[in-house]
Symmetry: D2
Subunit: 342 residues, 4 copies
C-alpha cells in the first residue's frame, strides 16, 4: 500500500483518478486538495463516489502531500511546475497530468503555453509518461509528465510507421476528434450542452498546444523533425478520442504485421484485424487504445484509426499505469475494468 495524494481533484481528470484509485488494491487515498472546496466531502461533489471515498477536499496549504509516496497533479497547466521541486525534495514522486513537463524545449513550451516556466531545471529530468515508449525510464522516474489525450492517440497510431521509417514523416496529417470532457469541467459557454450537442466543429486549426507535443514524440522516434498538420474537432460525446491519421508510404511494408509486432507485449494497445473500424465506445471507461490500419484503394496513403478514452488512457488511466510502473506493481493492477458498452 502506498499513500497517494491528488492536487486539484474537482475536474474530470481528478474524479476519474478517484474512480480508478478507489478501486486500486495497492493505494491508500491520503489527500485531495481543492482551494475552492476545502472541507467538502469528495462524495458530496461526486455522488458516484458515495460510500466508497470518505475523503474530504483539503486546502492545499494543509494537505499532507509531503507524506505521500506519490502525488498526482490534476491541475490546470502551470501549477505543478511551482510545487514540484518542494515535493521531490521531500521524497515524494510526482505524476503531472497537465502539460508542465511534457515539452523538453523550454522556449517552445513557453511560446505555446504563454507563461514563463517556473522549474526549467526539472524539465530535463521529467520522463514523458508514454509507457509504450518509455517503460523502463518511467520505472525509475521521480517526475513523470503524463501525456496529453490527443498526443497519446496520435503517437500510438503513428509510432510504428515512424520508427520503421516507411512513410513520409514530412507530410503527416492527424485529424482528431474528441469528446467534450476533453475540454474540462470549466463553466464555459462553448461547451454547454445546448452549444455542443447535435453539433460538430473543428477548433484550434491555426495551432493547438498538443501539436508540439506530438511533433516532439514523433521526432524522437524518427530521429529528425517531422511535418505534421493537426486538426482537433469537438465531438458531441462525453468521452473518447478518435484519431484519423494519414501518412504517405515511402517504402512497402506489411503494416499490419508491423503494428502487431510493435505492440505485441503491450497490455493496453490492441491492434485490430485488417479492415476494422474501431469505435470510441469500445474503449469507454477503460485504459485501452485500439488501432486499425487501412490502405484505401491500394493507393499510397495509409489511414490509421486510433481510439482511446480521453479520461483514461488519455489521462487518469495512463497516470495510474505510470504509477504502477514507478512502484513495481503489476502494470494492469487497478486497470482491468472492461469497457462500458453500450
Amino acid at each position: 500500500m502506498i499513500k497517494v495524494g491528488i492536487v486539484g481533484g474537482t475536474g474530470y481528470t481528478g474524479v476519474e483518478l478517484l474512480r480508478l484509485l478507489a478501486q486500486h488494491p495497492e493505494v491508500e487515498l491520503t489527500a485531495i486538495t481543492s482551494r475552492g472546496e476545502a472541507g467538502t466531502p469528495v462524495a458530496d461533489m461526486f455522488p458516484s463516489l458515495r460510500g466508497r471515498v470518505a475523503l474530504k477536499f483539503s486546502d492545499p496549504k494543509d494537505a499532507p502531500l509531503d507524506r505521500c509516496d506519490v502525488v498526482f497533479f490534476a491541475t490546470p497547466n502551470g501549477i505543478a511546475m511551482q510545487q514540484a521541486a518542494a515535493l521531490l525534495a521531500a521524497g515524494v514522486r510526482i505524476v503531472d497530468l497537465a502539460a508542465d513537463f511534457r515539452i523538453k524545449d523550454v522556449a517552445v513550451w513557453e511560446k505555446w503555453y504563454g507563461m514563463t516556466h517556473a522549474a526549467p531545471e526539472l524539465v530535463a529530468e521529467a520522463v514523458y509518461g508514454l509507457p509504450e515508449v518509455n517503460r523502463e525510464r518511467i520505472r525509475g522516474a521521480r517526475l513523470v509528465a503524463n501525456p496529453g489525450c490527443y498526443p497519446t492517440a496520435a503517437q500510438l497510431g503513428f509510432l510504428p510507421l515512424i520508427e520503421a521509417g516507411c512513410v513520409d514523416a514530412g507530410s503527416l496529417i492527424a485529424d482528431c476528434k474528441s469528446g467534450v470532457s476533453g475540454a474540462g469541467r470549466k463553466a464555459e459557454t462553448h461547451i454547454l450542452f445546448s452549444e455542443a450537442s447535435d453539433n460538430f466543429k473543428a477548433y484550434g486549426v491555426p495551432g493547438h498546444r498538443h501539436l508540439p507535443e506530438i511533433r516532439q514524440g514523433l521526432a524522437l522516434a524518427s530521429g529528425k523533425d517531422v511535418g505534421l498538420t493537426f486538426v482537433p474537432h469537438l465531438t458531441p460525446m462525453i468521452r473518447g478520442i478518435h484519431a484519423t491519421l494519414y501518412a504517405r508510404i515511402t517504402r512497402e511494408e506489411d503494416v499490419q504485421t508491423l503494428f502487431e509486432k510493435r505492440y505485441a507485449g503491450e497490455p493496453f494497445v490492441d491492434v485490430l484485424p485488417p479492415k476494422s473500424h474501431p469505435e470510441t465506445r469500445s474503449v469507454r471507461a477503460s485504459n485501452t487504445c485500439r488501432i486499425a490500419i487501412h490502405r484505401p484503394q491500394g493507393g499510397d496513403v495509409l489511414v490509421v484509426l486510433s481510439v482511446i478514452d480521453n479520461l483514461v488512457k488519455g489521462a487518469a488511466g495512463q497516470a495510474v499505469h505510470n504509477m504502477n510502473l514507478m512502484f513495481g506493481f503489476g502494470e494492469c493492477v487497478g486497470l482491468t475494468q472492461l469497457p462500458v458498452l453500450p
Copy 2:
C-alpha cells in the same frame, strides 16, 4: 468457481452480463448461445470484450448448458419458460432476466404478454429476484425471476412507504423515464438515433407490461391491491432509469428516517440526504439504486426520486447479485465497480 451459461447473449442485457461475469472471480464462463451468431467469437460482435472473453457463441442445440451450475436467460419473453424445466431437471439453477416467471397470476401474465404460458407449474416455485425483498428465498431458489427495470426502480422507491402504510396505496403515480437501451438491441425504427435523440416522448400510456409487475410487488407489501398509474417515457440517453414517484400522505411519518432504516443494511440501495436530486449518471454502469425523498411545499404529496442503471441494477447486475446469493458468494462480489462519471 461455478460454471455459468448465458442463453441469448447478443442483446444489451447479454453483453452487460458478459461484462460483469468476465470480471467475477468465482465464475467460469462456459457457454453462450445465439442461434444467429453460432460460431462467431463473442469479442467479434462486441470488441469491448477483446482479449478478455474468448468464448464463441454456440448454437442452442450444442451448448453444454446442462453442465452449468447456473444459466442466465437474456432472451426475449417466452423463451425461458420453454427451456426451464429441462435445465432444472438436470440440476441447473436459472436466473431469467425476461418476464416469464415474474407474474404469479398466470392469467394476468398471459393477458399482458399475449401468449400461453408454457410452464405454469414453475411460476409458483420461481422466486422474484428483488434481493431487498426476497433475500432469503433467493438463496435457496432453483429458479429466479429477475425483476424488470422499471419495477426495480419503482418498487424500491415505493416500498418503505407501502410497508409502513403511511400513504394512500390507492392513488400512486409512477412517472418513469428510461434510457433507450431499455428498448433492447433490436433493429426498430423508433429507437434509431435520428428518431430518439434530441427528442422525448411518453409511450405505452394505455398500459405497459411492467404495470402488473409493479402492482404485484406493491400489493404483496401492502397486503391489499394498490391503485397505480404508470407512465413510461423514452429519454435520449443510453442507460438509466429515473422514477419520479408520487404518493399522498395518510399518516405523518419521518419518511427520511423510514427510508434510511429500511435500506440500512442494503449494499446496493443508497438513500440520499434530504433535498437531494439523484442523477442517473451517478449510478451509470453500477449496481446501485439511489433514492431521495421530498415533500414539496410541506403539502400532502410525497415525491420519491429513484435512479438505477437499467442494464445493471435493472437487469444484469441484479441477476449477478441473485447469483451471488444463490451460491453463497459475498453479495457484492463482481459488483464493486464504481459508477462512470462523467
Copy 3:
C-alpha cells in the same frame, strides 16, 4: 412595418427572437442591446444569422428603444421592471419574456424571485400573454407578460379540465421535462455537455418559480385555489418541453371532445387523436403545442401529454404571437415554419 427593439439579445430567447423576427414580413429590426457585446455585429456571435441580420448589438444607453413600436425584453428577471415605465411613457409597447409581470400578487412574486418589485403599479396593468386565454386583452395591451415555458405547456394541458370542472383541482400533478436550453446560455457547470448529456435528473422539487405561475393561471380558470405538485426535470435534449399531467376525475366527461372543442379555433394548439403520444420533436422549432389525453386502464386518473418547443411556443414564438395580436397582424404571420424533423 413596425419598428422592433430587443433588450438582451445574447441568450437563447434573444437569438430565437432574432430568427423569427428576421423572417417576419411586418417587422423592421431596429435595435438590439447588450451591455457586454456593444458594437459586435449580431451575426458574429450567431453565425446562423450571417447575411440576414445586419444589426449590431448596441449599448443599452445608446439604443433608440424609445423610437420603437414594441420592445421585447429577453433579459434576466428584474430588468424589464426597471425600464418598462419609461418606455411605456414614450409610447412604446412591451413584451417581457422574463417573469417580472407574470404574477399578480406582488408579495408572492417577491418571495419567489427574491427581490423587491421595481414597478408594482404596472403589474395590474400587465396582461398575461397566453393567447388561448387572454386573446382579446392582449390585442389592446401596452404591456404583455409572456408566459414561462413550463407554465405554457402545463396550463394548456390542464385548462380544458379545470374550466370544465371535471377533475379534482386540489390534487393536480405536473411532471415536466425540459430540454437544456431552458436553463439559458449562461456558463454554469451543471449544464455543461459532459454533465447534462447521457443523464437525467429532477431539480427544484422543493419549489420552482414556475409553480406559482401555473397555480395562478389554473386558479383563475377554476375560480378557486388549486393544489398542484410540480416537478421539473432536466432532459438531455436541446429544445422541448414534455408535460405529463395527472388529474383525478370527479365527473365523467368526454375529455377528447372537451379538448377538441376548447382548442377548435386555436392556430397553435393541436389536439391529437386518442391514444397518441406526442413527441417533442414534432414541434421542434415551431410555435405549436400538441396535446394528447389518456385514461389508463379506464381508471379515475387522466393523463394529459402536452409538448412544446420551449424556445418558441414557450418563449420567442409566443412573444411574436402576442406582437401579432397587439398590432393587428394575422396571428400566424412569421410563425408558419414547419417543425424540423428529424
Copy 4:
C-alpha cells in the same frame, strides 16, 4: 404553381422534401408514393406535418406522377433508373436524389453500386445538380442527378483550389463527418440510438460510394484525374456534415480571396472570415454551405472546413434549388428559412 410528385416519401430525404415543398409558394404537392404505406395520411407518419400536408401516401401504381411537372425520387439507389424513361416520355421532369445518374462512367457506377444500370442511355443526358457548377445546364435539364451529401460538402470546399490549380490534385484528403440521419431511416442495428450515441467511428475506409462521385467532380474541374483519400465518419448528431479537407499548396495564392470571388454571387455558399471554424449547427435546417480556409502554422498544407446540413444542402434543399432553376423561379424561393440554433 407547378404540380410536384415525390416517389418514396417515408425516408428522411422524403420528409425533408415535404417540409420544404409544403412551404414553397409555387408548388402544389400532388402525389407521394410509398408501397408500404399506401393509404396512410402523410401526417400520420410524420405528425410534424399535421394541419399542413393533407396528402396520403399512394401506391406507386396508382399515383398520378405522369401529370406532375416534376417528380422527385427520394428512393434507394436503383429505383429512379427504372422509372425515369417513362416519366420523361410523359413530359415530366425529374430530380433524382439517389445516385442513379450521378456517375457518368456507367461501368464505374455499376462497380460501386453493385448492379446493372437500367437506363445507361439517360446517364449522359442527366445534369449533375450542383448549381455552383452547373447552374445554366440545370435550367434546361429534363433530368437532374442531385449530388450526394458528402460530395456536396467536399466539392464546394475543394473546387476553388482545384479550378485555380494551386494545390496538388494528386494528394487530396477529405476527412468527413456526418450526422446519423445520413444513414437514412432504415431499421438497422448500427444506427440505433444506443449504438451511435456517445460514440464515434470511421466507416467505409476501404472505399465508399461517394469517392468516385467526388473524384469525378474534381477531375472535371481539374481537367485531369485527381488523387483523393476519403474517410467518412459517423458522428453522434442528427444532421450535419463537416468536411475537413487537406490540400498541399503548389503555388502561392491568396486563397481567402480566391474563395470569396468564386462564391461571390452564390446565394447558398458563405465564405467565412479568416480564422473561422464553422459549426454544423450554423446551417442546421437551412440550405447554406459555410466554408473557412486555414493555413496552419504557415506551412504548405491548406485546411478547408466546409459544413452543410446533409438533409438540406446535401439532399432535399439542393433538390428544391434545382427545381427552382429548372422552372425559372427565384433561386431562393422556399429556401429562406434561417438555421435553427441552438
